[in-house]
């Protein structure tokens, strides 16, 4: 059994479900360490007092919040912990919602929950009810001195916990300056692009995708280890398309083998109803 990261209780109405939290993901990225480029030596991170210029052991440190330039309010570990509140041990399900209503932008990290001590029956009940109702529970919990909005849902035979961002952690799209085109895309262009989307449509199969870069990177490391020099890739100017329609038609031709003539004649692409996504909350099995 993997080691649990957190133990606590889910409050579902008056039902208490003791749970243990486990990680659901693991990065397979190639890992690097910081090294000094001149001699390849290891880089150490040292805590140094700016005033005295010497290294300070962790025991001699305190946490401070800068209230104005150079002026700090210090808080002890215990004082910081007062912010944890009940969320440090308890996830109260405040609401239930449909998964499709949660935009992917909210999701942060995925975990899995297992039953805690004597919690198996209540755990199975919550799992069954989440599956049957096709909904996800929304609550808040505190993990590592930080509160998270969480979604609890049935995933295969277990309950998954997703930490989510609070609404004010999202950057409002209005903050971005998206330049408006001088000339809007024509109906013909939108129709051709719509046909291309249709042609490229399929279902999502996670196993179809493999990280090819990992292997390429490890191969390059091997070449470098043998003393080969690695040529820097040529910088390639990416020019915006002058004629979108020509590019779209060429794409359609490449994709569907000469069907672009018909595609062109087609009126605006059909509008399928917005997907009632996640209809099947627990259907990842």
């Amino acid at each position: 059994m993997p080691r649990s990261l957190w133990n606590g209780t889910i409050a579902f109405g008056m039902v208490r479900v003791p749970v243990k939290l486990y990680s659901a993901t693991e990065s397979k990225a190639v890992r690097f360490r910081e090294r000094h480029c001149s001699d390849g030596a290891a880089i150490e991170h040292r805590r140094v007092c700016v005033q005295e210029g010497r290294e300070i052991p962790y025991g001699e440190t305190v946490k401070g919040f800068e209230v104005s330039s150079g002026s700090y309010v210090t808080l002890s570990k215990e004082e910081i912990a007062t912010a944890d509140g009940p969320g440090a041990h308890m996830i109260e399900i405040e609401h239930f919602a449909h998964r499709a209503e949660i935009d992917p932008v909210f999701y942060e990290r995925a975990y899995r929950l297992g039953p805690g001590k004597l919690g198996d029956d209540a755990y199975l009940l919550l799992h069954a009810a989440l599956t049957r109702s096709d909904r996800v529970g929304i609550g808040r919990f505190v993990f590592h001195n930080k509160a998270h909005l969480v979604a609890l849902r049935a995933l295969e035979d277990v309950i998954a916990l997703h930490t989510m961002r609070f609404a004010d952690e999202l950057i409002p799209v209005d903050d971005l300056e998206i330049p408006a085109p001088q000339r809007k895309p024509s109906k013909l262009e939108v129709a051709a692009a719509g046909t291309l989307v249709e042609q490229l449509s399929s279902s999502f199969q996670p196993d179809d995708y493999e990280d090819t870069y990992r292997a390429a990177l490890l191969e390059l490391i091997e070449r470098k280890a043998r003393g080969e020099t690695i040529d820097a890739p040529e910088a390639e100017e990416i020019a915006p398309e002058d004629d979108l329609l020509v590019a779209l038609q060429a794409s359609l031709e490449r994709q569907g083998g000469g069907r672009s003539a018909r595609a062109k004649a087609k009126t605006k692409a059909k509008k399928p109803p917005r997907s009632r996504a996640g209809k099947s909350v627990g259907s990842a099995r």
């Binding site: 008056m14 039902v15 003791p18 993901t25 190639v30 000094h36 001699d39 290891a42 150490e44 991170h45 040292r46 700016v50 401070g64 919040f65 309010v73 912010a83 009940p86 308890m90 405040e94 609401h95 932008v105 899995r112 039953p115 001590k117 919690g119 009940l125 919550l126 069954a128 009810a129 808040r140 849902r153 295969e156 035979d157 998954a160 961002r165 004010d168 952690e169 999202l170 950057i171 209005d174 998206i178 330049p179 085109p181 895309p185 692009a193 490229l200 449509s201 279902s203 999502f204 996670p206 090819t212 990992r214 990177l217 470098k224 690695i230 890739p233 979108l244 779209l248 359609l252 509008k271």
Partner: protein, 284 residues
């Protein structure tokens, strides 16, 4: 506007859409500075070369990969790009799928894609209009920093939003946890009551209902401390944190009775501000 995290282009068929990548989220956490206890002077983390005992400026730090024989290979940013030149500057859209098909367990971080200049605006507008019409999300991939990312791109408030995703082998199996569960399967009656509780507590997801109370509390205690006030120790939890429910059916029935009695409490405007208040910790 802030500096983009990456610039390159989105490739959709033979159409290239130049784009700049920005984070879709911002850090609202309260950050503490580490101070030296006696005089409260700030502590800096310095990177020091272990061989020379000298501080090393950031530009002199390379990524090192340790070989099995203990030797190190150092890689520059150019090396990283050289491993996959095209993928390092192009997000290739491979297919389109329904967003509901992607399990949220794959979602990682979200970014906003913006055309870097007016010249790119038309192709960007074409792609966002087409995707908005189709209601689908584009699946593609590219290399960001040291890792290839599977990504889904969709239109959100008229901006193309990119969410990085995990690869299939980065998601752990549930099996080990599932095999360790030993309880009794719930009865039909229990499930029905539990679903009834869920129905009563169901709302349309509205992220603005939930505030980060933890962050707000930290701000409050910093203020109190600044005014020279004491910070009280946390009150002991009102109920034992690991109670088990020997009588699940009874707990469900009580939950239902309580939620229904409160009636209004179900409505979003009544709750969410203070989660603790409506905790059904005691009999109404």
């Amino acid at each position: 506007m802030a500096k983009p995290l990456w610039t390159g282009s989105l490739s959709f068929g033979l159409v290239n859409v130049p784009v700049a990548l920005f984070s879709a989220t911002r850090d609202r956490d309260i950050h503490f500075q580490l101070l030296h206890a006696p005089d409260c002077s700030p502590i800096e983390t310095r990177r020091v070369c272990a061989a020379e005992e000298q501080p090393v400026p950031w530009p002199e730090i390379a990524r090192g990969y340790e070989l099995e024989n203990g030797e190190w290979v150092l890689l520059s940013d150019e090396d990283l790009r050289a491993a996959a030149p095209r993928q390092s500057r192009t997000i290739d859209i491979e297919r389109f799928v329904e967003v509901g098909e992607i399990d949220p367990v794959y979602f990682d971080h979200s970014y906003l894609l913006v055309p870097p200049d007016e010249g790119a605006a038309r192709a960007y507008a074409l792609l966002s209009e087409t995707m908005g019409d189709s209601g689908k999300v584009a699946l593609g991939r590219f290399v960001l920093r040291t890792k290839e990312r599977l990504v889904c791109i969709r239109v959100r408030d008229s901006a193309l939003t990119l969410t990085t995703m995990l690869f299939g082998d980065e998601v752990r199996s549930s099996e080990e946890i599932a095999e360790g569960i030993e309880g009794a399967a719930p009865t039909g009656e229990q499930i029905e009551s539990a679903v009834a509780v869920i129905e009563e507590l169901s709302v349309e997801f509205d992220p603005t209902l939930y505030r980060d109370e933890h962050r707000a509390h930290l701000k409050r205690i910093i203020k109190r401390k600044q005014q020279g006030k004491k910070i009280a120790a946390p009150a002991p939890a009102k109920e034992p944190v690991t109670t088990t429910a020997p009588d699940l059916m009874g707990a469900l029935e009580e939950s239902l009775a309580q939620i229904r009695a409160q009636g209004k409490a179900k409505k979003p405007r009544a709750r969410a501000r203070s989660a603790s208040k409506k905790t059904p910790a005691r009999q109404a």
